[in-house]
Symmetry: C2
Subunit: 637 residues, 2 copies
């Protein structure tokens, strides 16, 4: 009866009239959104099938503002019987009810692109799919029946897809406007490639220009585990709904079966607290369930595991930042911060953030913010995004950035990157361009960026301290010889060794890094460690050269693994200096140098090793009776 | 077959998981959004039934964070058979397919509040409805079946509704958090009451505090006309869809019947250009329709009429601004600007903007922006709203406001109000809190606020010029007597009349307004017009005292109508001054004073009459042989 009600609006009709909600508010956006939806789907499909994604995007301008857009992937393809529904019906998706980190989750995106195409050109979408087990490829041309929100198949055929074992291809005809620059398709695929280094993505622009980002690793990211929802933050209505859809069973079994992290003990406690041991779930009354929910609220919140979540991780966060600043040389990469997994409304999530600071970056403007959700770059609606709001609500003055009135986006020479990974990203709209104001996520972003801020502050303090020490050092170096000279002249006593005196005054391990360019790609690093303390010291220096060729190394005891170097320096006598020099071949990246294993004194010149560095690189067995000691007392003359 | 597909997601399931998209992302928002959806519906219903709306909101906190929210109106009520679908099914609405300005349009809002209630407390919504023609009221308790997106009626009964002829009442039980201050329910109803002065709205807060905004006018705003869509901006797919749903007919009849502003001549031309005179619409091929759309694109865009649009209008814009600044005294109300009706994707829209400047307003902060859409205040997502973006993209430095880097929200002592009225507001999401980036609307907002900016600049320039003239005036007033004295002493010639000399130097009509407070509510205004030009001058001064009592007036030739005064001053001789003094009783508002009917000279001291003032107030017949001339040459001593 209700089905034929004149006032019922189909979701397809709704979005026909509200396509701006889906990211199709103007013709530039429409092109980008269509490409994004198709690419996000391809990446999800490839990754879950264990395939290294290769995606080709071709955009051709046909006639005034009509574009032909084709996206072809090497993904697993889909069942021929599911092509029509997957592309020709909004709110259709296999991932909707699963709790797993994915780019697409809503079952709207790609059908929305089909809908937009059909509205603006009246032409059907063409989909070709081939699975590995299919002998032929299946071709479907379809439109969406708006009133029914169902696919209308215009043509259906089979074809031989030359040289293709499996894959999917979609062609759309739509009104559009192709633009380069900010918020462009180019920008989207570049930012996607940066945090997904295992993908190859090629874009053929309307002027036939080809942009290609080739994969730099063959390692497919760990597949996120499909999990059950966590009980924390689940509302009474959610539980009632799950009960409704579940076969009848005991309360204990119900909670064991449907939620993550529920132990048999807790399931029993839930049951006995509400006194429902003999009541099966379908017979539970509202008061019972209410009682259960109240009990659950009192449970201590356990930290979720991160098995369902795939963070971007430190290296790629840095690459993302490097890419954005381009040729500009910063002073400092603030070591990225990764929060602990947390839960919002039953969904685990994790927040990561990184920052680059100083140098050539413009100091008098608001900092640039790079936003990512489930490894997808968010290019629109910055002002309406929780990430921006959380950053704006932090007091950045205490961390060394300018901030008018103590809130708002801070100003300073910095770029910040924030990534939220979750089994469910609460987007503000179906266009998936900004994160909604969920208090749990907001608090976590604030905490993570505040930790980032403290690291920045520490660096800036260190810089100040370093400058002060440098000044002190210079003064001592100037004055000491004069005092000595006078003293010697007056007292007639023998010459004094400065270094040990300086050591007593300075009381630091001093690391000096000298970088020289040698030829077009070559770089020579000289690392000097001077012990300006009165006791013997040791230090381990870690050098990350990136994926480069190391041409030469001055120290035979250095451990080198995959472009990462570990230099263990022992028994540095007070006042002595040890030196490592190395030459590397690298077009772009600078080496990153850190230290560890220093006790009882301060190190000036390089940063401590970030906690999340993979220091488990194989260590070549080393002679404990250290032979690396070389007296380099040239300064002690 | 597709209906039972496991992968089909119902819109109710979708929003159960994505309630943040609907404005329910946290428990404060949830309370506000629920109230807002109910009130918007009540206002729409009352206005379209010609009823002066009286709405009562009661919010009671039941137990930890569970709230009982009741909204009761005196609206027309709804058909007892439509109660369930209207409140228990998402995407259900009578207004969805009509082209008319309304607050609610999507058929989602109130059912979303029911959905949220059910999720968070597991309790049904209770609706009571009575139409004037019903003998009894109908009570329905319902929940939403998520899988089917259909109402599930829990209880249904009739009742006698004492003293109620017609009305609607909804009670919801939901998790919430009641807060005052910014972005609160109080803020929403206050801002709603300001631009809807014909409504009475009462809020009973959880602590039993009662807030009431009583109507200040009994005039229901003109009912917006339901129109057909305009042809401009309509896409080919839209036309194909309308054809599909239409009975078969000729192309000419089709366009005449389905679109606004299509004349018989244009309909014939459409038909003949595509050569489809003998083809009925159901037989049209894609190429035909494409041809037709291309022809339509070439049609000169006609301005739509504003019969479908209800702007806020100048007076209420000013009241809205006054309310926000509260006790702060500004320098200047920039006269509001109303754009011409424009079209986006077939929908007419109109943009209005006003601004208040200077005085006590804080000068070192970003200006405050008040956003309204279809007379509903937008309290959230300022950063993600087209209104904000359009304001940010204007170069405000040229208009006298500070703006770092030439873009972004300008800083300065100002509050701006922007209202977009349309038969379809393109919200960025179903939560209806921000407007999406539709280029046509963006351009229009920019144009309107730039006009506002020019008015501000003009005022500021005038202020600067006025100050300069004042300085000049002071100098002349000091120096002239000295020169005269010397001259008289040396030459022995008789005394010189200063005023006519000053007149020659200054060459302006000088209006001096002196305001004195007389008692608690009384104010005395003295307006002096001095002719500092060498010729005879005339001026008409308009004074708007608001709705106040005028106690006394010094000039018998003044015309007084509804608190507005028109003072026609003729034959002011060079060097002479004429004075009007008046006393009014007004607790708050200051009088606004403007001038008109001055030729050939500049007026310093007051602003010209804004173009949109209603100056057609009845003029009392006046003696043309002016008797109002009074020589006030006291200064000519």
């Amino acid at each position: 009866m209700l089905k034929t009600d004149e006032n019922k609006i189909s979701i397809a009709e709704f979005f026909e009239k509200n396509r701006h909600i889906l990211g199709f508010e103007n013709s530039q956006r429409a092109l980008l959104t269509s490409v994004k939806e198709a690419v996000d789907n391809s990446l999800d499909a490839c990754e879950s099938a264990g395939i290294l994604p290769s995606i080709r995007i071709e955009i051709v301008e046909r006639e005034n503002h009509e574009f032909e857009v084709n996206i072809t992937d090497n993904g697993p393809g889909i069942d021929k019987n599911k092509i029509a529904s997957s592309f020709g019906s909004l709110l259709y998706g296999t991932k909707f009810h699963s709790v797993v980190q994915a780019r697409g989750q809503q079952g709207i995106g790609i059908s929305a692109a089909v809908l937009y195409s059909q509205i603006t050109t009246g032409k059907p979408a063409k989909i070709i799919s081939k699975r590995a087990e299919d002998r032929v490829a299946y071709v479907v041309k379809l439109m969406i029946n708006l009133k029914k929100n169902e696919p209308e198949i215009m043509e259906k055929e089979v074809m031989m897809w030359e040289h293709v074992d499996h894959g999917l291809s979609i062609t759309l005809f739509m009104k559009g406007k192709y633009q380069r620059g900010k918020q462009s398709i180019y920008e989207y695929i570049k930012n996607t490639a940066i945090v997904n280094p295992h993908i190859t993505i090629e874009l053929i622009e309307p002027d036939k220009n080809i942009v290609k980002f080739a994969r730099v690793t063959d390692r497919i990211p760990r597949l996120p585990k499909v999990i059950k929802p966590y009980i924390y933050g689940i509302e009474i209505g959610n539980i009632m709904e799950i009960i409704k859809r579940s076969p009848d069973m005991s309360v204990k079994d119900f909670f064991l079966k449907n939620f993550s992290n529920i132990s048999t003990r807790i399931a029993s406690e839930i049951e006995s607290d509400a006194d429902v041991k003999n009541i099966k779930i379908h017979a539970l009354k509202h008061e019972h369930i209410k009682r259960i929910v109240e009990y659950i609220k009192k449970l201590p919140v356990q930290e979720p595991t991160d098995e369902a979540l795939i963070p971007i991780e430190e290296d790629l966060i840095k690459k993302g930042l490097k890419n954005v600043i381009g040729a500009l040389k910063p002073d400092y990469y603030v070591s990225p911060v990764t929060g602990k997994p947390k839960i919002w409304n039953g969904n685990p999530f994790i927040v990561e953030a990184g920052m680059v600071w100083g140098g050539d970056l413009p100091a008098d403007q608001p900092i640039q913010i790079l936003r990512y959700a489930n490894r997808v770059p968010l290019l629109f609606q910055q002002g309406g995004c929780l990430i921006t709001n959380a950053i704006s609500s932090v007091n950045w003055k205490q961390y060394g950035l300018e901030q008018r009135g103590g809130s708002g986006i801070p100003s300073g020479p910095a770029v910040a990157l924030v990534h939220v990974a979750s089994t469910k990203i609460p987007y503000t709209s179906e266009a998936k361009e900004a994160i909604a104001e969920i208090p749990e996520i907001e608090n976590e972003i604030k905490e993570v960026v505040q930790r980032l801020g403290r690291r920045l502050r520490m660096h800036l303090n260190k810089e100040i301290r370093r400058k002060k020490i440098e000044e002190k050092f210079e003064i001592i170096n100037e004055i000491l010889p004069l005092i000595t000279e006078k003293t010697v002249a007056i007292t007639g006593r023998p010459e004094i060794r400065y270094n040990s005196i300086i050591a007593k005054i300075m009381n630091v391990l001093w690391v000096n890094v000298i970088k020289e360019n040698t030829g077009e790609k070559g770089k020579k690093y000289t690392i000097q460690v001077t012990n300006y303390t009165s006791a013997e010291q040791q230090i381990t220096v870690y050098i990350d050269c990136g994926t480069v060729t190391i041409k030469s190394l001055s120290d035979k005891n250095v451990v080198n693994e995959n472009g990462r170097i570990k230099w263990i320096v022992k028994n540095i006598d007070s006042g002595n200096t040890k030196t490592l020099s190395m030459e590397i071949l690298s077009a772009s990246d600078d080496a990153e140098i850190y230290y560890a294993d220093v006790t009882g004194t301060e190190v000036i010149g390089i940063e401590p090793l970030p906690g999340d560095w993979d220091i488990d690189m194989p260590v070549i067995e080393e002679n404990e009776e250290d032979s690396s000691e070389e007296d380099e007392d040239e300064q002690d003359s």
